[in-house]
Protein backbone atom coordinates (compact mmCIF):
# COMPACT_ATOMS: atom_id res chain seq x y z
CA UNK A 1 0.00 0.00 0.00
CA UNK A 2 2.74 2.36 0.94
CA UNK A 3 4.49 1.64 -2.32
CA UNK A 4 1.47 2.65 -4.36
CA UNK A 5 1.14 5.86 -2.38
CA UNK A 6 4.75 6.80 -3.12
CA UNK A 7 4.20 6.05 -6.81
CA UNK A 8 1.35 8.52 -6.81
CA UNK A 9 3.52 11.19 -5.23
CA UNK A 10 6.25 10.65 -7.78
CA UNK A 11 3.77 11.11 -10.60
CA UNK A 12 2.72 14.50 -9.30
CA UNK A 13 6.21 15.81 -8.55
CA UNK A 14 9.06 16.71 -10.86
CA UNK A 15 11.59 13.94 -10.39
CA UNK A 16 15.15 14.03 -11.73
CA UNK A 17 16.66 11.34 -13.95
CA UNK A 18 20.25 10.55 -14.89
CA UNK A 19 21.37 9.28 -18.29
CA UNK A 20 24.86 8.20 -19.28
CA UNK A 21 25.42 8.89 -22.98
CA UNK A 22 28.75 7.08 -23.30
CA UNK A 23 28.83 5.05 -26.53
CA UNK A 24 25.11 5.63 -27.10
CA UNK A 25 23.55 6.73 -30.36
CA UNK A 26 22.54 10.39 -30.10
CA UNK A 27 19.33 10.09 -32.10
CA UNK A 28 18.09 6.87 -30.57
CA UNK A 29 18.72 8.02 -27.01
CA UNK A 30 17.00 11.35 -27.73
CA UNK A 31 13.86 9.45 -28.60
CA UNK A 32 13.86 7.98 -25.11
CA UNK A 33 14.89 11.10 -23.20
CA UNK A 34 12.18 13.23 -24.79
CA UNK A 35 9.47 10.98 -23.39
CA UNK A 36 10.71 11.71 -19.89
CA UNK A 37 10.94 15.45 -20.54
CA UNK A 38 7.37 15.63 -21.78
CA UNK A 39 6.01 13.22 -19.17
CA UNK A 40 4.89 10.56 -21.60
CA UNK A 41 6.08 7.80 -19.27
CA UNK A 42 3.36 8.76 -16.78
CA UNK A 43 -0.18 7.35 -16.93
CA UNK A 44 -1.83 10.80 -16.62
CA UNK A 45 -0.07 12.34 -19.60
CA UNK A 46 -1.67 15.21 -21.44
CA UNK A 47 0.27 17.76 -23.52
CA UNK A 48 -1.29 20.72 -21.70
CA UNK A 49 -0.75 19.35 -18.20
CA UNK A 50 2.78 20.43 -17.36
CA UNK A 51 3.95 17.12 -15.92
CA UNK A 52 7.42 16.48 -17.41
CA UNK A 53 10.56 15.51 -15.51
CA UNK A 54 14.13 16.74 -15.45
CA UNK A 55 16.84 14.73 -17.20
CA UNK A 56 20.57 15.12 -16.56
CA UNK A 57 22.70 13.74 -19.39
CA UNK A 58 26.39 13.15 -18.71
CA UNK A 59 29.31 12.21 -21.00
CA UNK A 60 27.80 13.83 -24.07
CA UNK A 61 31.29 14.19 -25.49
CA UNK A 62 31.52 10.39 -25.81
CA UNK A 63 28.27 10.05 -27.74
CA UNK A 64 28.34 7.68 -30.72
CA UNK A 65 27.08 7.80 -34.28
CA UNK A 66 26.51 5.03 -36.75
CA UNK A 67 29.01 4.15 -39.47
CA UNK A 68 30.26 7.38 -41.12
CA UNK A 69 27.51 9.69 -39.88
CA UNK A 70 30.06 11.96 -38.19
CA UNK A 71 31.30 12.90 -41.64
CA UNK A 72 28.08 12.75 -43.64
CA UNK A 73 25.40 14.07 -41.31
CA UNK A 74 25.11 17.85 -41.71
CA UNK A 75 23.36 20.64 -39.83
CA UNK A 76 22.20 23.55 -41.95
CA UNK A 77 21.24 27.05 -40.87
CA UNK A 78 19.94 30.16 -42.58
CA UNK A 79 19.98 33.63 -41.10
CA UNK A 80 17.24 34.95 -43.40
CA UNK A 81 19.47 37.42 -45.22
CA UNK A 82 20.93 36.91 -48.67
CA UNK A 83 23.92 34.61 -48.60
CA UNK A 84 23.14 33.65 -45.04
CA UNK A 85 23.17 29.90 -45.56
CA UNK A 86 25.72 27.86 -43.66
CA UNK A 87 26.26 24.17 -43.18
CA UNK A 88 28.44 22.16 -40.84
CA UNK A 89 29.07 18.44 -40.56
CA UNK A 90 28.35 16.68 -37.29
CA UNK A 91 31.97 16.24 -36.19
CA UNK A 92 32.69 19.93 -36.76
CA UNK A 93 29.70 20.96 -34.68
CA UNK A 94 30.79 18.51 -31.98
CA UNK A 95 34.23 20.15 -31.96
CA UNK A 96 32.71 23.56 -31.25
CA UNK A 97 30.35 22.44 -28.51
CA UNK A 98 30.25 18.82 -27.28
CA UNK A 99 26.67 19.21 -25.98
CA UNK A 100 25.26 20.66 -29.19
CA UNK A 101 24.55 17.40 -31.04
CA UNK A 102 22.60 15.97 -28.12
CA UNK A 103 20.71 19.22 -27.67
CA UNK A 104 19.67 19.39 -31.32
CA UNK A 105 18.67 15.73 -31.39
CA UNK A 106 16.26 16.28 -28.48
CA UNK A 107 15.04 19.61 -29.84
CA UNK A 108 14.12 18.15 -33.21
CA UNK A 109 12.30 15.23 -31.63
CA UNK A 110 9.83 17.44 -29.73
CA UNK A 111 6.82 18.86 -31.52
CA UNK A 112 7.31 22.45 -32.61
CA UNK A 113 4.92 24.50 -30.49
CA UNK A 114 5.11 27.10 -27.72
CA UNK A 115 5.69 24.41 -25.07
CA UNK A 116 8.98 23.34 -26.57
CA UNK A 117 11.30 25.97 -25.04
CA UNK A 118 9.96 25.25 -21.57
CA UNK A 119 10.39 21.52 -22.08
CA UNK A 120 13.96 21.98 -23.25
CA UNK A 121 14.78 23.95 -20.10
CA UNK A 122 14.44 20.74 -18.11
CA UNK A 123 17.26 19.10 -20.05
CA UNK A 124 20.69 19.46 -18.45
CA UNK A 125 23.66 18.47 -20.56
CA UNK A 126 27.22 17.95 -19.38
CA UNK A 127 30.17 16.99 -21.62
CA UNK A 128 32.01 15.18 -18.81
CA UNK A 129 31.32 13.35 -15.62
CA UNK A 130 31.63 16.56 -13.57
CA UNK A 131 28.20 17.58 -12.38
CA UNK A 132 27.66 20.22 -9.69
CA UNK A 133 26.48 18.89 -6.35
CA UNK A 134 23.35 21.03 -6.37
CA UNK A 135 22.05 19.12 -9.38
CA UNK A 136 23.40 15.74 -8.31
CA UNK A 137 21.54 15.96 -4.99
CA UNK A 138 18.15 16.06 -6.77
CA UNK A 139 18.60 12.88 -8.78
CA UNK A 140 16.40 9.99 -7.75
CA UNK A 141 16.74 7.40 -10.51
CA UNK A 142 18.55 6.42 -13.69
CA UNK A 143 17.34 5.90 -17.25
CA UNK A 144 18.53 2.62 -18.74
CA UNK A 145 20.97 2.81 -21.63
CA UNK A 146 19.79 1.78 -25.08
CA UNK A 147 22.86 0.08 -26.46
CA UNK A 148 25.34 -2.25 -24.82
CA UNK A 149 28.71 -0.59 -24.37
CA UNK A 150 31.16 -2.80 -26.29
CA UNK A 151 34.00 -4.33 -24.33
CA UNK A 152 37.55 -3.70 -25.44
CA UNK A 153 40.08 -6.48 -25.79
CA UNK A 154 42.11 -4.93 -23.00
CA UNK A 155 39.21 -5.36 -20.57
CA UNK A 156 39.26 -9.17 -20.86
CA UNK A 157 41.57 -10.91 -18.43
CA UNK A 158 44.19 -13.46 -19.43
CA UNK A 159 42.19 -16.27 -17.81
CA UNK A 160 39.13 -15.34 -19.84
CA UNK A 161 41.10 -15.42 -23.07
CA UNK A 162 42.66 -18.81 -22.41
CA UNK A 163 39.37 -20.47 -21.51
CA UNK A 164 37.59 -19.17 -24.61
CA UNK A 165 37.08 -21.98 -27.17
CA UNK A 166 39.17 -21.87 -30.32
CA UNK A 167 37.47 -22.09 -33.68
CA UNK A 168 40.25 -23.62 -35.76
CA UNK A 169 43.64 -25.18 -35.29
CA UNK A 170 46.80 -23.94 -36.90
CA UNK A 171 48.46 -26.28 -39.40
CA UNK A 172 51.41 -28.32 -38.16
CA UNK A 173 53.84 -26.62 -40.51
CA UNK A 174 54.02 -22.98 -39.49
CA UNK A 175 53.29 -20.72 -42.43
CA UNK A 176 53.60 -17.05 -41.55
CA UNK A 177 53.00 -14.25 -44.05
CA UNK A 178 55.94 -13.51 -46.33
CA UNK A 179 56.37 -9.91 -45.19
CA UNK A 180 57.61 -10.77 -41.74
CA UNK A 181 60.18 -13.43 -42.71
CA UNK A 182 63.16 -11.17 -43.55
CA UNK A 183 62.81 -9.32 -40.24
CA UNK A 184 62.84 -12.54 -38.28
CA UNK A 185 65.91 -13.80 -40.14
CA UNK A 186 67.86 -10.63 -39.37
CA UNK A 187 67.19 -10.93 -35.67
CA UNK A 188 68.28 -14.57 -35.62
CA UNK A 189 71.59 -13.83 -37.36
CA UNK A 190 72.49 -10.99 -35.03
Amino acid sequence: MAYNRVLQWSVMTRSWWLYDAENQCAFKSARKIVDYLQGKHKPIYHPLSDIGDHVVVINTKLVAMRDDRWRKFTYSHHTGYAGGFSRASAWRLHDMDPTKVMHKACYQRIKGNLLRPNIMRRLHLFPDDNVPDEIMANISDQIQQIQIVPKQLEDYSQLERDNFPQIFEWPEKEMMPKKKQPELLQTEDT
Partner: protein, 169 residues
Protein backbone atom coordinates in the same frame (compact mmCIF):
# COMPACT_ATOMS: atom_id res chain seq x y z
CA UNK B 1 -25.12 -19.41 -63.21
CA UNK B 2 -23.81 -22.92 -63.37
CA UNK B 3 -20.84 -24.28 -61.55
CA UNK B 4 -19.01 -24.75 -64.83
CA UNK B 5 -19.41 -21.10 -65.72
CA UNK B 6 -17.99 -20.09 -62.36
CA UNK B 7 -14.91 -22.19 -62.90
CA UNK B 8 -14.22 -20.78 -66.34
CA UNK B 9 -14.63 -17.23 -65.09
CA UNK B 10 -11.60 -17.72 -62.83
CA UNK B 11 -8.30 -16.58 -64.29
CA UNK B 12 -6.08 -19.05 -66.03
CA UNK B 13 -3.23 -19.48 -63.50
CA UNK B 14 -5.72 -20.20 -60.74
CA UNK B 15 -7.18 -22.99 -62.85
CA UNK B 16 -3.75 -24.49 -63.21
CA UNK B 17 -3.29 -24.42 -59.46
CA UNK B 18 -6.61 -26.13 -58.93
CA UNK B 19 -5.55 -28.92 -61.23
CA UNK B 20 -2.56 -29.72 -59.02
CA UNK B 21 -4.62 -30.05 -55.87
CA UNK B 22 -5.59 -33.59 -56.91
CA UNK B 23 -9.20 -32.95 -55.97
CA UNK B 24 -11.80 -33.68 -58.56
CA UNK B 25 -14.33 -31.03 -57.65
CA UNK B 26 -13.87 -27.29 -57.15
CA UNK B 27 -13.65 -26.15 -53.53
CA UNK B 28 -13.71 -22.72 -51.96
CA UNK B 29 -10.66 -23.17 -49.76
CA UNK B 30 -6.99 -23.58 -50.55
CA UNK B 31 -5.68 -27.03 -49.87
CA UNK B 32 -2.00 -26.75 -50.64
CA UNK B 33 0.68 -24.28 -51.67
CA UNK B 34 2.37 -24.17 -55.02
CA UNK B 35 5.37 -26.03 -53.65
CA UNK B 36 3.43 -29.27 -53.33
CA UNK B 37 4.93 -30.35 -50.05
CA UNK B 38 1.81 -32.40 -49.32
CA UNK B 39 0.10 -35.01 -51.40
CA UNK B 40 -3.67 -35.06 -51.02
CA UNK B 41 -5.46 -38.41 -51.21
CA UNK B 42 -9.20 -39.02 -51.26
CA UNK B 43 -10.70 -42.31 -50.15
CA UNK B 44 -14.33 -43.30 -50.38
CA UNK B 45 -15.72 -46.25 -48.45
CA UNK B 46 -19.48 -46.33 -48.73
CA UNK B 47 -20.89 -43.08 -47.34
CA UNK B 48 -17.67 -41.85 -45.69
CA UNK B 49 -14.93 -39.95 -47.49
CA UNK B 50 -11.48 -39.52 -45.98
CA UNK B 51 -9.05 -36.81 -47.18
CA UNK B 52 -5.41 -37.16 -46.16
CA UNK B 53 -2.49 -34.78 -46.58
CA UNK B 54 0.69 -36.80 -46.57
CA UNK B 55 4.05 -35.06 -46.55
CA UNK B 56 6.24 -35.82 -49.57
CA UNK B 57 9.88 -36.44 -48.56
CA UNK B 58 12.42 -34.23 -50.38
CA UNK B 59 16.14 -34.85 -50.76
CA UNK B 60 18.24 -31.79 -49.90
CA UNK B 61 21.49 -33.72 -50.09
CA UNK B 62 22.57 -31.88 -53.24
CA UNK B 63 22.07 -28.45 -51.64
CA UNK B 64 23.90 -29.23 -48.42
CA UNK B 65 27.59 -28.58 -48.13
CA UNK B 66 29.83 -31.60 -47.67
CA UNK B 67 30.40 -31.42 -43.93
CA UNK B 68 32.59 -34.50 -43.58
CA UNK B 69 34.41 -36.74 -46.01
CA UNK B 70 35.95 -39.87 -44.47
CA UNK B 71 35.83 -38.29 -41.04
CA UNK B 72 37.68 -35.13 -42.09
CA UNK B 73 35.75 -31.87 -41.96
CA UNK B 74 35.48 -30.01 -45.24
CA UNK B 75 33.45 -26.86 -44.57
CA UNK B 76 35.31 -23.81 -43.30
CA UNK B 77 35.42 -23.20 -39.52
CA UNK B 78 32.77 -20.47 -39.50
CA UNK B 79 30.42 -22.24 -41.92
CA UNK B 80 30.73 -25.30 -39.72
CA UNK B 81 29.66 -23.38 -36.60
CA UNK B 82 26.71 -21.69 -38.32
CA UNK B 83 26.35 -19.01 -35.65
CA UNK B 84 23.05 -17.31 -35.10
CA UNK B 85 22.87 -14.45 -34.27
CA UNK B 86 25.62 -13.68 -36.73
CA UNK B 87 29.17 -12.78 -35.82
CA UNK B 88 29.48 -9.14 -34.81
CA UNK B 89 32.36 -6.69 -34.62
CA UNK B 90 32.05 -6.63 -30.83
CA UNK B 91 32.95 -10.33 -30.54
CA UNK B 92 36.57 -9.52 -30.04
CA UNK B 93 37.67 -12.84 -28.60
CA UNK B 94 36.66 -14.65 -31.79
CA UNK B 95 38.12 -12.06 -34.13
CA UNK B 96 41.39 -12.20 -32.21
CA UNK B 97 41.92 -15.74 -33.45
CA UNK B 98 42.06 -14.56 -37.06
CA UNK B 99 44.85 -12.07 -36.35
CA UNK B 100 48.62 -12.22 -36.36
CA UNK B 101 50.46 -10.88 -33.30
CA UNK B 102 50.94 -7.63 -35.24
CA UNK B 103 47.21 -7.26 -35.86
CA UNK B 104 46.89 -8.26 -39.50
CA UNK B 105 44.41 -10.80 -40.76
CA UNK B 106 45.66 -14.33 -41.29
CA UNK B 107 45.67 -15.69 -44.84
CA UNK B 108 43.15 -18.28 -45.93
CA UNK B 109 45.81 -20.98 -45.98
CA UNK B 110 46.16 -20.87 -42.23
CA UNK B 111 42.67 -19.90 -41.08
CA UNK B 112 40.98 -22.23 -43.60
CA UNK B 113 38.07 -19.87 -44.24
CA UNK B 114 36.14 -19.84 -47.48
CA UNK B 115 36.21 -16.72 -49.63
CA UNK B 116 32.85 -15.44 -48.44
CA UNK B 117 33.62 -15.76 -44.73
CA UNK B 118 37.13 -14.40 -45.20
CA UNK B 119 35.64 -11.26 -46.74
CA UNK B 120 33.15 -10.84 -43.89
CA UNK B 121 35.75 -11.32 -41.18
CA UNK B 122 37.91 -8.74 -42.93
CA UNK B 123 35.03 -6.29 -42.74
CA UNK B 124 34.41 -7.02 -39.06
CA UNK B 125 38.06 -6.62 -38.10
CA UNK B 126 38.23 -3.21 -39.73
CA UNK B 127 35.05 -2.16 -37.98
CA UNK B 128 36.49 -3.28 -34.65
CA UNK B 129 39.65 -1.24 -35.27
CA UNK B 130 37.53 1.78 -36.13
CA UNK B 131 35.51 1.43 -32.94
CA UNK B 132 38.72 1.19 -30.92
CA UNK B 133 38.10 -2.32 -29.58
CA UNK B 134 41.38 -3.77 -30.83
CA UNK B 135 43.62 -0.91 -29.77
CA UNK B 136 45.90 -3.43 -28.04
CA UNK B 137 47.54 -4.26 -31.36
CA UNK B 138 50.15 -1.73 -32.34
CA UNK B 139 52.31 -0.80 -35.26
CA UNK B 140 56.06 -1.44 -34.86
CA UNK B 141 56.49 2.33 -34.34
CA UNK B 142 54.36 2.18 -31.20
CA UNK B 143 51.07 3.91 -31.97
CA UNK B 144 47.87 1.84 -32.08
CA UNK B 145 46.40 0.61 -35.35
CA UNK B 146 43.53 2.66 -36.81
CA UNK B 147 42.02 3.26 -33.41
CA UNK B 148 39.59 5.96 -32.37
CA UNK B 149 42.43 7.52 -30.43
CA UNK B 150 43.66 9.20 -33.58
CA UNK B 151 42.98 12.93 -33.37
CA UNK B 152 42.22 13.38 -37.06
CA UNK B 153 38.90 15.12 -37.69
CA UNK B 154 35.93 12.77 -37.28
CA UNK B 155 38.00 9.72 -36.36
CA UNK B 156 38.41 10.81 -32.74
CA UNK B 157 34.73 10.26 -31.91
CA UNK B 158 32.90 7.09 -30.96
CA UNK B 159 31.15 5.04 -33.58
CA UNK B 160 28.98 1.94 -33.81
CA UNK B 161 27.93 -0.38 -36.63
CA UNK B 162 24.86 -2.31 -37.62
CA UNK B 163 24.65 -5.56 -39.53
CA UNK B 164 24.18 -3.97 -42.94
CA UNK B 165 27.10 -1.60 -42.67
CA UNK B 166 30.23 -2.18 -44.68
CA UNK B 167 33.53 -0.50 -44.08
CA UNK B 168 33.90 1.96 -46.95
CA UNK B 169 36.46 4.46 -45.69
Amino acid sequence: MNVIQQVYSISRPVQQLLRYTCISSYRHFTTSTTKHRREIIEKTEGNTTVIEGNIIPVDHSKLLKPQTVEGNTVACPLCRLDLHPKLKYTDVLILRQFLTPEGEQLPKKISGLCYKQHREVKNLIRQAYRAGLLSEYQFPEGHPRRSQRSTWKWKKYNVYFEEEDKFRF
